[in-house]
Structures are given as C-alpha cells and as structure tokens.
Symmetry: C2
Subunit: 701 residues, 2 copies
C-alpha cells in the first residue's frame, strides 16, 4: 500500500481523466468510458487518447498521454493486455497518480499472465502510481460525474448519488449490486471493482470508502482477503465511524472454494473464520444478494434501534403469527403489551384479541380509528422497532394515501423510531412511503431480517464505543519457550503465566517425591507421565486416576515409567501428581495462526459430538472479556454452561477471563507459537472458577 | 365431513350463486361479490337477495332465498354475525348445498361466539349443507368466473386461470398469495379461505383441490391442523397424483404459538412434528412467503429433475462461486465437468478456466459463439438441472433477444431438462423467456432454493410410486399389556415380540437362579433390579455392571434387593442378569401419541448434548425401512453412524429395521400405549445388529 489510502482520492474522485485507447464507438468497451463521462456530466477535463483519431465522440483526441496539456489525475486504460505495460509505463513516466486497468488476460489465466501483471506493478511502483485492476470493470463516483467503467448497466441510466457505496472484487457482481440498489431507490455514489487486485484490493478500497464523509453504507463482495490485517483495519474504522458494512463473502462450500481457486489467485480462508471475524468486527455477512440489498436499504435509512424489542401490527392474524415466528428466529423480542396499552386498546378493539402481534383485522380498511388507536398505543409502548403489515391494501391508491397520513401522524412524535412496513404497492406509492420516512418491504421475513441486522449493527456500534475494537498490543509479552518440544507440565506452566488457571500440581522425580507430593495435595490424586515426546498419554496408559494411598503412589510411579517405555527413546521429565479434577463442564480452548488474519482463539464444548455439530467459535486475538462472552454465546455450549437438567450454572466469568487471557497469550506469542490446545478446560460451578486439565503447545515448525 | 369431499364441488365450482344481503354499493363488503361475479363473467345465474331492493347492480333482486326460481348451488352470506343463523337456516330449509359465511364475530371472539357458530353448524348439518367460514374471505374459481369473495385485490384485475391453487386459513394471507402469484405471472384458478373452519378446514379443501384435474400446484397456509389424519390423506393423495403442495405453517416460535392461540381456536402442534411429517409426505414447507411463491412458480413449470446434479454457467466468476455455495447448502451436487466436456470447451475458451461452475466472463456479451458452445457442452453433460446467470445483461433488449434465441436453440433437443435463469430484466422480457420455457429468478439463492425443492419433490414422487405412503393397517397386532405398570423386563419382552432386538437376558428370582443365569450367559454379566415401580434404576444404584464371578453375583443380588428398599413398597419381580453390552453408538428410540397426528416415532442420538442440539427426527407410524433411513439421515446421528474418527460404520440396516418395527408396534398399540422409550438403543458395528439396553412403556393414563 504505497502512498497511503488517501492516495486513492485521485483515482476514485479525479479532477481530470485520460482514456487511453478511447474509441469513437460508444457501444464498445473502449468507447463507453468517454460516452459515460460525457453523459454523466464529469466536472473536469476528459482527454481521449488514440493515435489514429483527431476527435473522439466530439472531444479533441490526443496521440499520446505525453501530448496532454496537464497530467491527468487518473488514466483509464481501455487497451488490450499486451498494450497495458507500455501504457502504464507512459503514465508512470509522466507522474499520473493512478490508472484503471480494464484488460483481462493476466493472473487469472496462469503463470505467464501473473508475470506480465507483476511487471506492470513494478513499473507503477517506481513512480508511486496506484493501480485498479487489471481484469476489472473500473469505478465510478456519481456526484463527480466520474464513470471510469465499461459496465453496460449505465446504458439504462446513471446512479443517483446517495449514502451507499459498492466495492467488489468481481466486476459483474459489483455492477449487479449497483443496478439493483438503484432499482430499489437507493442512492449509490461510489462503485469500485478491484478485479485481479494487483495493487488496490477490496480491503483498501473499503477503507477509503469508510473515510468518505458522504458514505454511510457499504456493500462489499470478496472471495477471500489477501491481507486480513488490512481488512480488519477497514472494519474497525467503519465501526468507529458508525458506518454499516454488509459483506458478501463467497466460497463457503467445497465446490465454491474450488471455483474460487480457479477464478482468482485469492486464497479462500476457512469460511467459519470469516463468519466469526465479521461478527467480532460488526460486519453483517449477507446470506444472499437480496439480503445484502435489503440490509443496505435498511441501513441507508439511518435509524439503528437501541434494543431488540419489536412491536408488530397487522391486518391479518396469520401474517402476525408468521412475523412473530421470523422475529423469534432472528433474535428479536416480540414483548407482550403493557397492561396500560392493553386497556387502552380494548376500549376501541373489543372484537380483536389485544396482544403483540396486534391483529387489527381487515376492518382496518373500513375503520381508520382502529388503525389510528393501534398505532398510538404501539408508539407509547416504546418498542425499539415496529413492523406494520398491510398486505395488498396499499394497491388501492386511496387506501394508500390515508394509510400514509395515519402512519405519519403516529410517527411524528418519534421520528427516530424505526417503523418498517410490509406491504405490496405500486412503485410510486412505495417511494412516497419511503419519502415519509418508512422502510418498505414486500415480504415479512425480509423485513424482519433487515430489522435484526440493524439491531446487531447498533449493538456493535455501542460495543465499539464502549471498548474500541482497535487491536492494541497484547497485554502479555513473548514467553521464553525453553526446551522444545514442550511437555504437558511446561505447557501448563507457560499458560499459567499467561493467566490460565491450572490445578495445583507437582512434578515428581522419583516415587518418594511423588508420595510427598500426594500427601501435600491430599488423597486421592491423579498421576500422569510427563514427557515432551509423549503427547497422547492415554494411548499408552500414561494417566492413572484415583490413586488412593502412599503405597499405590509408589506402585503407580513404577507402572508409569514402565509404560513410558512403549515410546522408545522418550525423554521422561517425571510424573505429575495432581488432585483429582472436580466436576465441571468440559470445554476446549485453542489458538492457531490463520494465514489470512493471524492469531485466532477457538472455543467449543469438549467431547466427540462437537466435531459432528461443528459447534465452535473463533475470534481474532487479542480481545477482552466482553468479546469472550459473545464468543461463548455463539455456541450451544452457552446453553449447557447456563445449566440444564438440574445442573446449575457454570462459572462463565472464569471461562471468559481464561479465553481473553489466552487471546493475549496467543497474540504476544504469534511469532513463536503455532497452536495451543487446552483440552479439556473444565468450567466449574458458578463462583468456583475453571481449570485447564491438559495442554499442548506446538511452537512454530 | 358430511357428504364427502365431492360435496364441495357445488361450493367451489357452483353453477348458480345467491348473494344474501347483496348491496348496490360495489365498494362495500356486501356489494363486492355481485360486482366481481358480473365483471368476472360468472357463467350461471346470479341472484342478489335483499328485501329492501328490486334490483342490485342492474340484476333483479329477490326478497328472500325462498323466492328464487331455483335452488342455487351456493349461497354467499354477506350479512352480519347476528343474521347469519337465520340465513343459514333458510338455505338449509331449501336444500342449498353450500354456503360461504363472511361474518366475523364468532369463535375468534370467545365462548359466546363459539356457541353461536355451533348453532349454525347444527342447522347446516341437519340438511347436509356444507359451510365455508365464518370469518373468511370466501373463495373463487377463475375459470368459472365464480368470485364468492370480498377481497379487495380483485379491484386490480381478475386472476388468469392456470395450474396453481391457493388454500388458506387466513383470508388476508390467501389474498396476498393470490395477488403476488398473479404478479409473478402464475395462473391461479382457485383460492379458498377457510377462516374459523366451522365445517370445511384447510385439509378438506386441500384434498378437494388435489382432486381437481386442472390443479397441479397448491400453496397452502395453516396455523395448525384440527384433524391430522385428514391432512395426511390430502398429502398422500397429492403425492400419488404427482401434485406439488407448498405449505406455510406458522407458529414455530413460542410467541408465534401464543399469537395463534389468541387468533384462532386451532391447536398449534409441535412445530418440528409438522416439519418432519411434511417431509415424510413430500410436502415442501416454505420458510417465507417469497419462498412459497418461488417454489410454486418453479413447480408450475412442471419439470421435476430426476437427480440433484446441477450445472452452472455464468458471466461472472463471482456469481458462479456464490451459486455453488448456495447449491451445496441446499443439497445440490455441482459435479465436475466430464473430460470430454472440458476438452470441447477448451477449444473455444482458451482464456477461461473450464469447470463447473463455468464462468464465460463478460465476453459473453461480445461473443455469441462463447455462450453457444458453453450451452451445448452443458447440455451434453446431462446435468439434472442447469442454472444460467446473466446478471443485468438482458436489461438491454437486443442482448436479451439474442440470448433467448441461443438458449432456446441449446434447449431444443432437451425440452424436459430444467433450465433456470438468474437475471434482471424488464417484466415483458422476463415473460418472453418464460414463454420460451425457462424459469427466471432475480436472485441466485432463490433460484437454487427453488431447484432444490423441485429435486426433493421429484424424490418424493418416486418414493411414493415405489412404495405408496398411504398408511396401511400396521403389520403388528395389539399386545396384551398384562400387569400394569410394566417393568423393564416386561417392556423389553413386549418390544421384542414387536421385532426390537434385546440382549439374551434372564430374570432371576433368587441368588442361585442369578448364578445359574450368569454361568449360562458367561461372565462378566450386568445385574439390574426389576420392578414396575422403579423406573429410574440408576438413581438408587439398581444397576451393577461387570459382575465377574459367581460369588460376586450372590453378593450383588443381595445388594440390589437392599437398595430396592429405597423405594418403599416397590414390587420386586427379581433381578435381570444379562451379558455386558457390546460397544456401539448409543441412540434413543421412542414413540408418542401426537394429539393432531396420532402415533409418532422419534429417533435421536443418546446423551445429554442431544437435548441441547435438538437433533431428533419424527415420523408418523407406521413406516417402512426406507422411510426409517430417511428419518435417520435427517439427524446428525447419521454422521456418527457412518463412522468418524477411526470408528467404522454402524449397522444402519438393523437400526432402520428396528425403527420401522417400532413404528408398526406403535401403530398397532396406539389405543393402549401412550409412550415407549428405548434408551439407550445400541447400534453395533455394521453387520452386527443393534440392541435395546433399556426400555420403558407407559400405557394410556
């Protein structure tokens, strides 16, 4: 990232544009940028460059970029792959700050293409010139009239500037999103497509967009990040600035991942890691294109509910039940009406059952009072959001007009309250409701999903304000690993220094040592062989539990040494004597170095079933106790730890503290430690703490 | 159900209609039916009835139904609740076959309303008259021009007859579905709304629709069935006739269920039972209204892929990866291209990576040959379905026309192959593609979900043809329960007679008996106290494992009798001596009587985690081994039974047989047995069978 993210201003909001290879034919790839710049009303000079013409589309045409009266901010290269290097070199020689490379035929085709694009990068870097592409669809900034793209959907009209931006690795997908957003009535001011990402990638473009004051909502598309740190930086800054990022990350299936490998050079990270990191950094992961658009649409309204309570009012009991089902599935709370609210409603609504969802029945069409009173009461209930279902009633214009008036009156005391309508109407009627401040969806489920995303975003904004996610240096410092490989005892000692609770256990060098240790700890004890060469102790019978007295300790000491011989040449450090473990919930804590994002912490329940249910969660290290709690709550382990079947609650505080301590340990030791496995990590009943019963630390290869 | 389902012909496809309470004002509820019948072109006589008028909307009006020149097929009652009984009685007296009751204010308002509607039912039943409603929006049959409804959406135009039908408990929801289906280009010939279901319910209306030759696809909405058997009958007949039922069942959340209770008198069944029974009987459960419409749209095309292989062709690599992800999640198989196919493609597509998904890149716009060859090769790969993504390209009419031509040419040799397009275009362009035989979606995920539903329906149709789901009498016969309550030994004996494998175990009456038994079985053995009064043996230490020799048997016999005294007055049948259980996967089998559907079988993994993960499946009893296998595969237990972590596969055949035997046992004993719990049911390694280790049978209260 040379020149810093601000160096992208010239490429994405240029004051002047040169189009190299500009064509007279406005329907060709090389003709479209000039045509779009003209029709789109670009505010600065446009310089077509083509040695074979005097004019292009009515503009004076230049033979070479060297002939221009000034150095343009950006050069759009509408030339083939084999002419791209020369054009980039020419620009670099002149000091052009940035270039957009349309040509395909580079890294995506194989090794030769990769070498060719690397040469281009070298030429650009030598002059601090920034590159977008190659193999991309370009970029635009609607408010500037800058359209450095050959996307065909602009033929249908230009985007209206607004708070929404699009950044997409895939050109076609970016164009698709932009078009659909416009059709949905959203103002899209920026679209950036990054293609092969020779220089600028989605992460950097995203960061640039986050910093634009006129951007509030960003729809992003990517198949995997090259540099996870850059992506995290963009996410953190978006959170800090209260901007919404809705990300479509593809490649979650084996076949999807295969298709990515053949499509781009990007490494597809483990899919769940993306899901969890998005969650950690307040990014909404869209599950479909439609969902991405729905949530962006809702975010653009700018009202983020401060809680998850939802009021539902309908003209159909069935739709109300349906909406309540969806709300429950999406984590919203359809709280009952207050006693006051019920009483007030019963005065006018004797014939309907008064509850939340509130079914006003089809009578709403005939009786305005009904709806008026219903809305008044719902407003006074102070729900964080209200969903109102009107089915196809607003298809009748007269009904739509009076409905809009009633809704506006009801909302007027609370303009900051989120009011979402689920209804079917003609597009101009929908636009009128939107102009009055309401969000409009045609499908109950989509409305609920969007509301839920707003609630989650609001939570993330609040959490970020309370404790910025910006990763500080870890609390811990790098440990001295000492002798490698590490035995269980050494691993536990290191983790204990890092703040993980371990049992009070003693390493015995001979049988009498062991007896003394056991006597000090109190019988019965557990005895384990300790050797850096024996990682799977149970397989050789290297763990003996419930050792009852001194004589048994002596016998078992000998037995353990004998069994250790099954691993020829194993170095024996001694025998670990520890108290018998108390009863608790077995969990697994772990750390690993993700190639994209760096040190991660994993949490899950212990036991074989967990693998089958894939019920684990990840977080980027380091993080605090609050994030650790969220991490625990992302798994079903939370249900068990909360207490089930007569078992009381477990010590969540101790578990969360252990996870956050482990995260600092992992971050501080990312250079020296590859993985840590704490298995089992026993969580004791509430107030009694937690304890690591076994641990393995694997240093870097 | 008096008169049988065919008696509904007169109500849903009448030859003559009387409208009681007909109003001159076509905008009022009581005026709309006449207006709609006139505008909709009803083919028979229309008789307005209103004692205060001579004509209504230009038609001769009658003072009473008794004044009509003939007995009409159906009477539409557009009168208030307090005038409904009189009108129904008049109709019944004349022998009118059916009536549609609009009025609200009955069971949905409380006990008085319920009594009022019960009186109405009595009056109707006395004359074998069928009733739709009350508190419903009526019904229509578009091809007859029959519109016995006051739904306002008809103001926007009348439905085009076609293969789709709607049946909905909720009037507003039914109208909403009908309107949206029409807007989507589907022909909807029937809509029936059942309201309070005083007589006709969703199940019976569904069965009637299934039997109409001109209906192929049915969208249903319900909040819970009153009579599960009737619903199952409709489902079975739909399957046998190859008709698609897409059901929106609401009330899955606690709050949703609460809203139902207050909205209608229907009992909401356990939600998962509905999901599983829908699956058993080939009914697609829609997860949103949009999904219900999408799948109905796809079904109406009438092509059901015979397998789950999917070819994907795109103009954007990103969209291809995305589609592959969705396909994987929905159980479709994006199989790699054949070697031949790859070679053929590489001849023309040197610059793209040739695979499935096949990314033809944006070049498709400029180079028709590319798409032509791509489509040819995909056709010859014989995928069960093909998804083609064209993004916004068809927004340009010229591109759309050539695209449609190319697609039609490619499809012309294989008209029965499912070709689904994901693209954005103007509505008239979409209609042209549909007329050419293609399904068109605007969102990749929605397209994939619809394809997946078609594949599942095709599987259900095939399974039904191979072994009709129609429930035959159970294989088994009712058992003689004998002494009640039943001890473990008695329960196992009964289940063993029903075909469940149990260990070869012996009931001992005294210590020497037990020693003899143990010697016969071979040491070590397990010993358990047997008493119908001690159902939770482990709690009192009533199970002793690994009993090694004769002396230990004697000691433990005494110990068990001693421990049994902890349950004062418990009748002791003796001590069960059995071989130690072999190693296997612990599962739970159970049966229960569902209040809606009758005897159900449940299956799940053993262990405490299963409750947390709610990983169980249900099936209506009785069923065969094939259904039992599907039932097992609905749970994650299938993964463990298939073998994980070095463990080999378990005996699925034995497990499936046990489940199907248990289902026949449950069905045969539905009158006498309330629940059966077989826990644990141990599934041994492949070829070694399975065995019930413990069982509890609870007879009806």
């Amino acid at each position: 990232m040379n020149g810093g993210v601000n160096s992208l201003d010239r490429i994405f909001k240029p004051r002047s544009v040169a189009v190299i290879g500009a064509s007279e034919d406005a329907t060709r790839i090389s003709g479209r940028p000039i045509s779009y710049l003209l029709k789109g009303g670009f505010k600065g000079p446009i310089y077509p460059i083509n040695p074979n013409r005097d004019t292009v589309q009515g503009l004076r045409c230049y033979g070479s970029i060297r002939d221009l009266p000034e150095v343009p901010d950006v050069a759009v290269l509408a030339v083939a792959a084999n002419r791209t290097l020369e054009a980039v070199s020419d620009c670099a020689g002149l000091g052009v700050p940035g270039a957009i490379l349309f040509a395909a035929g580079f890294a995506e085709t194989g090794e030769a293409g990769r070498r060719a694009q690397d040469e281009i990068l070298t030429a650009a870097r030598s002059a601090d010139m920034r590159l977008l592409g190659p193999n991309c669809l370009g970029a635009f900034c609607a408010s500037q009239g800058f359209f450095g793209t050959f996307g065909t959907s602009l033929e249908r009209g230009f985007p209206t500037p607004g708070p929404v931006a699009v950044v997409s690795q895939s050109g076609a997908y970016g164009q698709h999103l932009t078009y659909m957003a416009g059709a949905r009535g959203m103002g899209v001011n920026y679209c950036i497509t990054t293609g092969n990402e020779l220089d600028i990638d989605v992460a950097e473009a995203l960061l640039w967009l986050v910093r634009q004051p006129d951007v509030r909502v960003i729809m992003a598309y990517g198949e995997g990040a090259r540099d996870g740190g850059r992506l995290i930086t963009a996410f953190e800054e978006a959170l800090a600035r209260g901007k919404s990022v809705i990300f479509m990350k593809v490649g979650s299936s084996p076949v999807g991942a295969r298709a990515i490998t053949s499509h781009t050079a990007a490494l597809a990270g483990s899919d769940q890691v993306y899901t969890d990191i998005f969650r950690q950094f307040g990014v909404i992961r869209a599950r479909s294109t439609e969902e991405q658009l729905d949530i962006a649409y809702a975010c653009a309204r700018g009202i983020f509910p401060q809680g998850n309570s939802l009021g539902i009012v309908t003209v159909s009991g069935g739709a109300g039940v349906q909406a309540a089902d969806f709300a429950h599935a999406e984590g919203l709370d359809v709280v009952p009406l207050s006693e006051t609210g019920r009483t007030r409603l019963q005065e006018v609504l004797s014939f309907v059952s008064v509850s939340n969802p509130l079914d006003l029945t089809g009578q709403t069409v005939n009786d305005e009072k009904l709806l008026e009173r219903g809305l008044e009461v719902l407003r006074d209930e102070n729900f964080d959001a209200v969903l109102a279902y009107f089915s196809t009633i607003p298809l009748m214009r007269a009904a739509a007009v009076s409905l809009r008036q009633l809704l506006s009156d009801a909302a007027c005391g609370t303009p900051d309250r989120l009011m979402v309508l689920s209804m079917t109407a003609d597009i101009d009627v929908v636009r009128e409701f939107e102009a009055a401040g309401f969000l409009v969806f045609e499908d109950n489920r989509r409305a609920i999903v969007a509301i839920s995303a707003l609630v989650r975003l609001a939570e993330s904004f609040r959490a970020s304000a309370a404790a910025p996610k910006i990763r500080k240096a870890s609390n811990g410092s790098e440990v001295n690993l000492g002798k490698i490989p590490l035995s269980e005892a050494s691993a536990k000692r290191l983790l204990s220094q890092g703040g993980l609770p371990i049992l009070d256990e003693l390493l015995a060098n001979d049988a009498e040592d062991a007896v003394a240790a056991a006597s000090r700890l109190g019988f019965p004890v557990a005895m384990k062989i300790v050797s850096p060469d024996i990682l799977h102790k149970t397989e050789i019978g290297g763990v003996i539990l419930n050792v009852a007295d001194a004589e048994a300790v002596r016998q078992n000491f000998a037995t353990l040494l004998e069994r250790a011989k099954k691993v020829p040449g194993a170095q024996i450090e001694g025998v670990l004597v520890s108290p018998m473990a108390p009863r608790g919930v077995e969990t697994i804590l772990g750390t690993l170095i993700d190639p994209t994002f760096g040190p991660l912490v994993m949490f899950g329940l212990g036991g074989v079933l967990v693998e089958v249910f894939r019920d684990v969660s990840f977080r980027l290290a380091p993080f605090d106790d609050a994030e650790a709690l969220r991490m625990i709550n992302d798994t079903k382990a939370a249900v068990i730890l909360a207490g089930t079947r007569g078992a009381g609650p477990s010590d969540l505080t101790a578990l969360a503290r252990a996870l956050s301590n482990l995260s600092h340990f992992a971050a501080a030791n990312a250079r020296v430690i590859d993985t840590v496995d704490v298995n089992p990590f026993l969580v004791l009943p509430e107030g009694q703490g937690a304890v690591a019963l076994d641990a393995v630390i694997v240093p870097h290869g």
